[in-house]
Structure formats: C-alpha cells, structure tokens
Amino acid sequence: MAQEMRSPIESGCPDAFQYMHPVMRKNYGQWAYHEDPQPGVLLHVSKYGDKIWTVRAGTQRILDVFTLRKLCDIGDQYGEGYIHFTIRSNIEYQVADESKVQPLIKALTDAGFVVGGTRNSVAMLSHTQGWLHCDIPGTDASGVVKSMMDEMIDEFKNWNMPNRVHMTTSCCQINCGGQGDIAINVQHTKPPKINHNLVSNVCERPSVVARCPVAAIRPALVNGKPSLEVDEKKCICCGACFPPCPPMQINDAEHSKLAIWVGGNHSNARGKPTFQKLVASGIPNNPPRWPEATAVVKKILKTYKEDAKDWERINDWIERIGWPRFFEKTGLPFTKYHIDNWRGARASLNASTHIRF
C-alpha cells in the first residue's frame, strides 16, 4: 500500500465521568432515595440533599442524524446538556432544576417522542437488527417493535401494570433480544433448504457439522459434489447451521413463524432469575404490522393486568396461579410442544400432587 496506514489508538472504553451531569458526579455513590413524581420522571435525592430529575423517553432506536440532533437540541434548550441511554435504548435527560421538567416533557412530546417507560409500565421492547441489517434474520425487528409500541403506547406512558413488563423480540432462535417477561421470537418449523452447488465453496463443513445441537448434519456427496446433508427426522429446525453455512437456508416466508415466551426475569428480586417459557407458537410472520403477534401479546398483558397482584412480575404471577390456570385464563392452547424434552427437562415436570382444582 503506497499510503501509510494510521495505527489505531487502543483507548478502549471511554471514561464516563467526563460526560456525567455535575450533580451526578458530585453525588456519585451518595444517593439516598428516589421518588417517581409522574410516569417517565424520576427524582433522585442525595445524602447531601442535592436533587436530580430524570425525564425518560422512547425513541425509534434506529436514529437518523436529524433525529439525533433534534434530541440534542431538546437537551440543550430544555435540559442541561446531559444524556444517558438506558439498556432498553430509551433516552434520559438529567436536570438539577425542577422547573425544567415540565417544559422538557412538552418539548419531547411535541417533537413526537414518548415520555414514559418507568416503574410499572410496559417498557420499550429491546430488540435486534432484523431485515434492516442482520445476516440471518427470520423477520424484521424495528418494524415489529414499532407496530407493537403503537398498540401499547398507553401502557408505556402510564403505570397500569402490576409490576414492570420487559418485552423483547428476536429475529432468530439465537435470541439476541434476550430474556423477557414477554418475548416474541422467530421459530422455524422446517429443516434448512440446501443449495448443494454452493456448500463446498462457502462452508467450512466440519465446523457446520459441529455446530448442530442434535448431530443431524453429516458430510455427503451430492450430485458428485462434496456437500452436507440433514437428517430431517432429527433436525429441530433451530437454524444454527445457517450462520456458518448460508447455503443452508433456514428462513422461509411461510414456515418461519413467531413464538411467544413469557416469564423471563433477570432480577433477583423475590425469586432467583428465571428463563422465559414457551406459551404460543405458529403465529404468522406477517409484515408490515404483525397483527396476530400483537393480539396474543395484548391478550397475555390484559390477563396479567387483571389477575396479578402488585409487584408480581409475570413469572411471579404464573408461579402463584400455576400454568394450567395461565392457559385457561389466556385461552391459549396447551400442546405437546410445551413439554420440554431438552437436557435437564425432567426438572420441569411435576413430580408431586400439587395440583390446583
């Protein structure tokens, strides 16, 4: 290369203290308590009596520079120039002056952002990249989230739920979206369709064989070419072979469905953290609005809201009422697919006479 390349400065993760609101810097580790003056607003009070207000708003997450600048303008004009992003991609403005809170809320609302997402609300869905940018997606992510948040805007803006509801969505079964009180995830239902002409050129065959969780893939000679074949009786249609071997196409316009899982909870509060459990599947992957998936989610949320006690997350609620009643109350079918057969599955079976009548 003729031109000399610049060596990177391996500075790693930047120091956050330089970007923190001065009141947060001053009171670092010295906070005494917080209050929730209204949905989307937090007030933190330090041991020294200093106060800081936070206004939280939902955005489209995929931000264009115009929107980014609009958010900065609001921060400069109505806030104090300091911004924090939550793990669920909400934007938060911190201000030390209470009189700025209402004008800040108004400016955000006028600009089309949605103030809320605190305490016992339905929080912003955490999501992945989907068709916009992922190499293996079964569905879109931003579009699903936009469609669902349009329908759950009141639940985001208000404190209507027994406890907070964290929702996630993932475009394949690797589930980058993570655990959620309610998770909407792609579920493939047919084995991959293999383009045997491409496999030997594109795929490192031994590592594809090793990737399969159920050892259903083996090397084979197809039409005189080295390729891979799938034992379709063993195949669980998980799609794990697709990322290392794109000619093993798992995504299917018709047969890649959506499944809904509930009861994932990362917190240690009350019980230990829990994984989400399957409740519904076979839901069509139906862009641009995915109405069938939203309908199931709304049904679950409605039942939870009516039946759960204060502070019960979805997993706490179901643990109290039992799974048979969950299916009864939501009207969702219980099928053979709900009974786990993966490793450790016996621990999920009822080995007692604890049965609710």
Partner: protein
C-alpha cells in the same frame, strides 16, 4: 434529494401511529439530507428493506472487513440483491464502545453525528444488545476513515467475533441509591485490561463482562454475560424506622404486609407490635424486593462488595445457561482488589482458551467438564454458595474424602485466624 426513489408501500405503513417511526427517519435522510451520497445509500436501503418485507427474507451476507491494525469491531454487510439495489451494496456497521454506563453530553453526541454524516449513512443506534454504539451503514473504505476520525478524539471499536466483547454497566452510583460498587470503574478496569482480546478475535467464542450495582441486575448480567459482577453487601441492611412508619401510614398496614413482609423469599422480615420493621439479616439473601418497594426506608449496608457469577449465555448451542456463583463476596475498594479481580478474569479466559472447543462459550465448557474441574483449573476453592443443593446422585467415586474434608477444616481455621488478626 434522490431523483428516483424505490417505492415502499409496505414500509410506508410503518409511518403512521403514535410511536416514533424509524422509516420516517430513514426517509428524511433519503429526501432531505444535503449530501447526495446519503440520499442514495438510504434509498437503496429502503428499497432492499421493502423487498425483505415483500418476500419475508433477509438479504445481507457477512464477510471480512476491519480497520488497519484490528481484526474485529466491524459487522460486515454485503447485499445479496446488489444488482437491484446497488446504492447500499456495502452497508457495514461499526461497533463503538460507549462510555461506561452510557453517559453522553449533547456536544459529544453532535460531534459523533457530524463525523458519521461525513462518512456513513447517517443511521446510528444507542445501543445494540451487546452494548455498543452501532453506526449502521458504511462502505468498506469509509469504515477506515470514520474510525480514524473518531479514534482521534477518544473513541475505540468494540468487539465482534470470538473475542472479549464490549462490556456493559448500569447507571449505578451516578444516580441510584442501590449501588454497591463503583460500576463504571469496574467496567473500564476489566474491559480495558483486555483491549488486545477485544480487537483481535482469537478466543473459542465471545466473552462478555457486565456490571450491575445491585442484585436487581438491571444489566441482565447473570444471564447475558460470561463474567457477571453484581454489587451486594454483607453487613446489616439499613432501616430508617421513621421513614418506614411514614410508608405504613400512607400505604396502609395491609399493603405493607401483602407487598413487603410476606413477599420476602426467606421470611427474614417481620412487622413488630410497635410498627418497627425487623430484619433477620443473617437469613436475608439480598433479593432487593423490600428495598425496591420502600426505597426511602431501606438501604444496602456499609460493608459493600460484589458477587461474581461465571458462564451465563443464551440458547446456542446447548440451551440457556445462567451464570454460576464462583465468588460469593469480594471487596472491591483498593487497587489490589481490582488487580486480583482482573487476575481471576485472566485465569478464567486463559483456562477457557486452552480447554474450550471452537464456538463453545465458557458456561458450556463448564457444563461439559463440570464445575469442580473448572474451579480446580482456575484455582478457586469450592463453596456451598455455589450450589442450590449438594449432589443427589450417589454415583461418584469419593476415596479422596478425608483429604477434602481436611482442606475444608484447614480453610475454616485460616479464616478464623485471619478474622482474629
């Protein structure tokens, strides 16, 4: 403005409704941005996305792209339908490490936005699921220029591929009364001591550090990281009886009984006849529930530290795993404390790099070889806090029992000696 835009009837549908629309934002770049390059690339992107919506398929494929001197940090994306939508045929994402805890000034966000507009598509996300700022949409050539520019004013790429990944930490001591450690100092100390492993992927698979300041675990560290650092305390929780009585007056006795007292997972709290909040601290498991409900009355104690759990991960390949307690409590105050935590992480990553199979997460390796072999490999003693219950199966050879029991008693003698010293 792009002269001929691809029709987007399905995407147009996502412009209505009260939630902010990402489609409206991308269209603004296509139609209103002064730079024709950005008009063109976002036009191609919308065309391809519309095609995905119509056919229900994705059309991006990976490849190999990095910046000079690094092996990772970029998610390469080449279009499989470039002949139909040539404008966005190269559309890579740069993963950039955010400041610990995701704090920004508007000035810094503007500066990043200006640089990105110069080189990329103008689309950015704060943040991806691994915790990076995602600058979405650059050509292979532009990734280098953009990186060079922001690297000069303090920003570095995150991890992508089989490497130490960008870390995450909660809002922590900056604005939370539950904080038990300096989340942001820990975050930077850990990940910045593995910078080489972040930038040059050479591990069996990904390895993630996440820091949550209390057991509410707002960073989802136990389930989503290989190395979870969770703030906790080991002395008594602090009870402000006056503030508690105010809650009792305003919320009512039944609310306090039903939502606080009876929700304690170890029945470690009670309400006495004089309306005092009584805690059996020895049996409190620091679940956080009562602190969450009564934040003015109840607080973590003073003897703060962290719990370390190893091996959390999501489905691929053997199913979901939560992290396992490997260090029940560790003080993190002095530089030596931080150094010893870093050494432990080095031992774990070295052992896993030696013993992990290709594409096997640390937790999966532990599942395969057993926790005891892992602990022996990294030189950590067994502890009953590591298990829910002791073994149930008698099918185990135990002819080393006497020596193992003696090790336990010896450790207890040493702990006693250290405590009295």
């Amino acid at each position: 403005m792009a002269k001929n835009t691809y029709p987007t009837p399905m995407l147009d549908n996502l412009e209505s409704g009260p939630w902010p629309s990402f489609i409206t934002g991308i269209k603004r770049l296509r139609d209103e941005h002064p730079d024709e390059r950005i008009n063109s690339v976002t036009n191609g992107l919308l065309g391809q996305l519309e095609h995905s919506y119509e056919t229900r398929k994705g059309y991006w494929k990976g490849g190999t792209v990095s910046v000079y001197g690094y092996g990772g940090g970029i998610i390469p994306r080449f279009s499989e339908v470039a002949s139909a939508f040539p404008e966005s045929k190269e559309f890579h994402t740069l993963r950039v490490q955010p400041p610990a805890g995701n704090f920004y000034t508007t000035d810094m966000l503007r500066q990043l936005g200006d640089s990105w507009e110069k080189h990329g598509s103008g689309l950015v996300t704060f943040h991806g699921q691994t915790g990076n700022i995602m600058f979405i949409g650059a050509t292979t050539e532009a990734t280098q220029h953009f990186f060079d520019e922001i690297n000069e004013y303090g920003w570095d790429l995150g991890g992508a591929g089989p490497c130490v990944r960008t870390a995450m930490s909660c809002v922590g001591g900056a604005r939370c009364e539950m904080s038990n450690c300096n989340e942001h100092a820990i975050h930077r100390w850990m990940v910045n001591n593995f910078t080489d492993d972040v930038h040059r992927p050479a591990l069996p698979y990904k390895f993630k550090f996440k820091v949550s300041g209390c057991p509410n675990d707002c960073q989802n560290a136990i389930e989503r990281s290989d190395f979870a650092i969770i703030g906790t305390w080991r002395d008594d929780m602090k009870v402000n009886q006056e503030a508690f009585k105010k809650y009792l007056e305003t919320k009512g006795r039944q609310y306090i009984i039903d939502n606080v007292i009876t929700r304690c997972p170890t029945q470690a709290i009670s309400l006495d006849d004089n309306d005092n909040f009584i805690v059996d601290n020895h049996n409190c498991v620091r679940c956080m529930h009562c602190l969450n409900v009564l934040p003015k009355a109840l607080h973590p104690g003073d003897d703060k530290g962290v719990t370390i759990l190893i091996g959390g991960k999501r489905t691929l390949k053997i199913g979901d795993l939560m992290g396992t307690v490997v260090v029940p409590f560790k003080k993190l105050e002095t530089e030596e404390d931080y150094e010893s935590l870093q050494e432990m992480a080095e031992d774990i990553i070295d052992f896993w790099a030696e013993n992990g199979l290709e594409h096997e997460r640390c937790g999966e390796m532990i599942e395969r070889i057993g926790l005891v072999n892992f602990l022996e490999g990294i030189g950590i003693d067994v502890d009953p806090n590591m298990v829910n219950n002791p073994r149930q199966s008698s099918y185990i050879r135990m002819d080393g029992w006497d020596e193992e029991a003696e090790k336990w008693f010896e450790r207890k003698r040493e702990e006693k000696l250290a405590a009295s010293a």
